[in-house]
Symmetry: C2
Subunit: 711 residues, 2 copies
């Protein structure tokens, strides 16, 4: 080998990895970002925040919770300009980038801008909305909102919330009240120290009758002095696993009065006389939920790509062990097992990315259809079916994509060995920040079961002969249940494999459900009893769906070197997931045992193929060093130098040792405190002997000698 030195530097090694890639990195990057515009905007946002002092990232691991929160508000102030001046499309892309750069701040801003404002948008009448817009909600001046839904004893079960809002006809007000500890509003982001108003979810009671949970805009603090208003008790709920930059708090209301007009009345109205008008149909809230889930699928891909960029670059420059004497140590990325650790995850992150793009498009189209939908539209039912199906699929996607991303972050951390455990690798913060995504906006397990419930329903519809919408249309073709592989392992073969197996596991869940019904169980109980099978149905269907989205995206592209790369990646994703869940493929006979061995061999080969282009591939994720915030993932490969200097800068040694004199010196200078034998120390045995001798003497005396006490 013709290296300039016996051992190339890490910088040289990474440069070699980038030499002559078999595809154009920028072209691939555009494909993965959906458009050139999206990529260019992202690069602009990255450049802006890299230079903005509030978005400094290198020191965040050493900031206290209070420092992080203060910085959050500095960022908040820097963003309000954009929220008023950028188009929604551009601002959404900006927030997407912020979501990977700084999840804590993203959350605080999202609470005010997404949740609070979103509650107004979806719940207020036009006049109410324009009132709040006049008060400044859009520009986040005058009003800074928070979203007071969950309570200490109720999270998933929103209908079970216990905060009450009782109508007082006399004063035309609602009285918001927390009846007991369990009804304390809990986890409320922004409540602890930065919100003026809250969208409070409470059980509405009019004339003693309960009408279920409605939303009431309730002021928490005086906007001039920031003092809490009477009856409002707020506390800080303190340290969390991650996202300490957002000030989550608890709120207890003690008979707090709000004007009737502060109840959001788009759906349910309460008149001056206390007449309640309920909407004819349950609210169509699918659309709102879809938005959150869509963004979480995209965020899962982006966060996984961030972790993988770090892990892949590090694995390319890290050398450990030589094969053969006097050989250069091997780049750890060259070990087949290391390729097995990272390449499938790389494929998965890319697959989820394309799924996110498709889902975003579907979501936008659907929002448009819903906005312009006429109740007399002949396609109404079809649109609603499609919406319902996408809603269910997105529940499964939210669950399995966030799980996949969390798993990827930790696997990437482990793949960097000890250095992955350093805070400065950024994996610990990424993991801790991301972990909540598996819980909020619906616990992943519960969402999976919702997806599974819908699949059970789809199966029932299919066997009744109903034509199903695209995502589950494969259930219409009953022959898929007994399909067999043609051994080609092409994208089509893989797709058929997933459809076959998904149909089988859905069928199994549906049949279990029906058998419980036949045994006399209620629908609710039967659904609970088949929940493990429902869960499996959701898991298999969702992975198949991700693969299908990816495959379709690739097939829509013109042939090019970049398309070829993505086809290889798609194949790796599909086959690796078959390996991971091989039990189902063997159980339902799509693959035979020998074919499964071929799958394993193919995955080995595909891992090696993707490894060859791994560094330019992660370059195409287009994440700046500032966003990565990890010396292990430095673009130029100066891993050890960057790591060392960051560690040094963050940890200056104190001039004086803080506890040497108090704690260490006494340790070093002490005599061993071996437990003394107290009997020996007291001379107890000698003493006892003396006493005995004296007694004997005395006894003798009794006999012969006159003693004092005898007198």
């Amino acid at each position: 080998m013709a290296f300039p030195r016996p051992k190339p530097t890490t910088v040289e090694t990474l440069a070699m990895e980038r030499a002559n890639p078999p595809f154009n990195v920028r072209k691939l990057s555009i494909k993965m970002h959906g458009s050139e515009k999206a990529l260019v905007l992202k690069e602009k946002f990255m450049a802006e925040i890299a230079r903005h002092p509030a978005f400094k990232l290198s020191d965040i691991h050493d900031l206290s919770k209070d420092e992080l929160r203060e910085r959050t508000m500095e960022k908040f102030a820097s963003m309000v300009y954009f929220v008023t001046n950028e188009s929604l499309e551009v601002f959404t892309l900006r927030m997407q980038l912020i979501g990977i750069a700084d999840p804590s701040f993203w959350t605080r801003f999202g609470v005010a801008y997404g949740l609070f404002l979103g509650a107004l948008r979806s719940g207020a009448t036009p006049n109410q909305l324009s009132y709040w817009i006049d008060r400044g909600v859009l520009g986040l001046n005058g009003v800074i909102g928070c979203f007071a839904m969950t309570e200490l004893a109720h999270g998933s079960n929103v209908a079970g919330l216990e905060t009450s809002a009782t109508f007082d006809r006399e004063t035309d007000e609602f009285i918001i009240h927390t009846p007991h500890l369990g009804a304390t509003k809990w986890w409320i982001g922004g409540a602890a120290s930065t919100a003026t108003h809250a969208a409070v979810f409470a059980q509405m009671i009019v004339d003693g009758k309960k009408y279920g949970v409605k939303t009431f805009v309730t002021q928490l603090r005086d906007t001039k002095t920031f003092q809490l208003l009477p009856g409002v008790t707020i506390g800080d709920i303190g340290k969390k696993m991650g996202r300490d930059g957002i000030d989550n708090g608890y709120i207890q209301f003690t008979y707090v009065r709000v004007p009737r007009a502060h109840m959001l009345m788009k759906h349910t109205q309460v008149s001056r006389d206390g007449v309640v008008t309920e909407p004819p149909l349950a609210q169509l809230t699918y659309g709102a939920l879809l938005g959150g889930r869509t963004s979480m699928v995209t965020d899962s891909s982006n966060s996984a790509k961030k972790a993988l960029t770090i892990a892949v670059r590090y694995a390319a420059v890290r050398r450990q062990f030589a094969i053969g004497k006097n050989q250069l140590e091997t780049q750890i990325l060259d070990y087949p097992i290391h390729q097995r650790r990272l390449m499938p995850l790389l494929a998965q992150a890319i697959a989820i990315g394309f799924t996110g793009l498709k889902l975003t498009k579907m979501y936008e189209d659907m929002t448009q259809s819903l906005d312009t939908m006429d109740p007399s539209d002949p396609n109404l039912n079809e649109i609603l079916d499609k919406l319902k199906e996408t809603h269910a699929t997105s529940a499964g996607l939210k669950a399995f994509c966030t799980w996949a991303c969390l798993d990827t972050i930790d696997k990437c951390r482990q793949s960097c060995g000890g250095h992955g455990y350093s805070a400065y690798s950024n994996f610990p913060t990424m993991y801790a920040d991301f972990a909540v995504q598996c819980t909020w906006e619906g616990d992943n397990t519960i969402l999976s079961l919702q997806a599974g419930r819908s699949l059970v329903g789809a199966w029932g519809a299919a066997i009744k002969g109903k034509r199903l919408v695209s995502g589950v249309a494969y259930l219409n073709d009953r022959s898929i249940l007994t399909a067999k592989s043609d051994s080609s392992l092409t994208l089509s073969d893989i797709k058929r494999a997933w459809n076959c197996v998904a149909a089988n596991v859905i069928k199994k869940a549906a049949e279990e459900y029906v058998s419980y019904l036949k045994a006399g169980k209620s629908k609710e109980v039967a659904m609970e009893m088949c929940s493990q099978s429902r869960f499996i149905a959701a898991k298999v269907h969702t992975v198949g769906y991700i693969f299908t989205m990816f495959k379709e995206a690739v097939e829509e592209m013109e042939e090019s070197a970049e398309t070829e790369v993505l086809r290889t990646v798609a194949q790796l994703y599909g086959l690796w997931q078959i390996e991971e869940q091989q039990g189902y493929f063997l159980k339902y006979g799509y693959f035979k045992a020998e074919q499964m061995d071929k799958v394993q061999t193919s995955v080995d080969g595909l891992c090696a193929e993707v490894r060859a282009i791994a560094v330019p591939l992660v370059d195409a994720f287009a994440l700046s060093d500032h966003i990565l915030n990890s010396p292990l993932g430095k673009y130029d490969g100066s891993v050890y130098e960057s790591y060392f200097s960051q560690v040094q800068a963050a940890n200056p040694l104190p001039k004086e040792h803080p506890y040497f004199t108090r704690l260490i010196k006494p340790l070093l200078e002490r005599q061993n405190t071996e437990m003394e034998d107290p009997e020996q120390a007291m001379g107890l045995d000698d003493e006892l002997k003396e006493i005995e001798a004296e007694r004997n003497e005395a006894a003798k005396g009794k006999e012969g000698k006159v003693r004092k006490e005898d007198y």
Copy 2:
């Protein structure tokens, strides 16, 4: 239902869970702790630390890194008494308990007591050892050690370390030197601010010849002033994912001289004249590694039990959603899916616990055999074979048990919903602290491959007709490869299932290895190329091994209600893992598809069975509220009250808002900064028109009017 109130309190609910358990909790607890003595000692240790101010745990989530470290040394000071006064057996049990209560402190103490002292014990000659004992190493006075092995650029590959120790014959000294940045000692626990000496691993060079890595006791700081000695550069490596209570540091040596006598010379000797005597055989270091791994298996079980105690108690008192109107909300532990989330993990933690007990016993017996072993012992080869096999098995156990525990902690966190994300649930700290166990003492993936390598070797030996030792003896019976289930799903059936499948995956790895050899690859390359199959072999063998250990433990017990419980738990563990890895069981034909459905149904049923006794079962883990340090897992069930009061106590609101005036007030009071249209603001268009008009005028002037510049 005859509840005293319409809705029982959480305390009442937990009491009902404990009413009339079908077994004796204490008897079961004794079985799980190995002996009554072990349980009683644990209870004593728990009572001691619960009252010791240095072991306060409730505030740790809000302490800074520096505060945590200072407290570590307070604990350190409190422990030296016991280390000098307790028997090794008792002190080992004490450290085991400390390991689950306080992993940071456990690490700091373990570095001084386990690693540094361990290095002396295994590497020093008798005279050297007694010299260091006189200096105070045993009582940790005079000398506080650290263990300087890993470097910035070398972790797994110890033989590749680059710190040098060059013999200077003239002065009879070694010169310890860090040649470049990558050779900086890194991660050294205790180095940053609390150690006086280090066991430094360095490449020994005598007369220009390299002899490989040896150990040199090197003083770092003056014991009176704690100033660094000349040539020693130390830095703090700062924040980590967890275990911030230990002060990890980096060390660079610049030509630091140590007396020749400070090289540990039990194995390799260097004489006054620089004559090097190397040991006839490579050092037998198996035993030392085994100790660490054994304790990590036990710690995995204990840490998982801690997480599960919290999650199970919380799930028993948490109610969410009612099935049917006017029903009490359901305890989430009653949902089949929640049982699926927790019960198998409970079974796994118990299985690993019994494996740890058996492994500890094997380790103790083996240590004794090795200590008393005579080289002429006719059983020598057998003992060494057994040692080698246990060594390989323990590598796999370390990997898969620590992975299982880390996974359990996060699954328990998720099972507690949002509250699991609060620092005060203790899951975040537990996860962050435990995570390093998958990396240190050998990266789990690399250890799995070592286990796999040994299994490939065992297969080779088996087909040559060699009788294998117990752990892999099933490979001797080739008929196991084609065994079939008798559909009983008893412990024997399950054991045969694991043996069958393990034998098949080991055979596959071995055959791949041989095929690469036949294709002309070197042994090393062939081993790397079959690494995925080796990994699978290790995974399947290890789970089968854990199951077998558990089964044997149960079968050694007298029949009793407690034994019956453990038999059920063992069955759940074995069958659940079959489900998890069902692909192999189908692929190798041990189970047919329908039998696999029966496995699923059995697991459902076993989950429900174990759920019925889940609360008394976790009570038998005997972990005090102090150790659990989580209001969600409070023994008495006062979950919400305890949580609320801990959050309140930890987060008093500041008297004055720290940044309202600087950051929030300007936001609230600002005018919207919508971007002005600068063209309009400047009146640009009007101005341009004027200029144009003037020019036109001028042009006209050129024609008719005399202008200034014409003169």
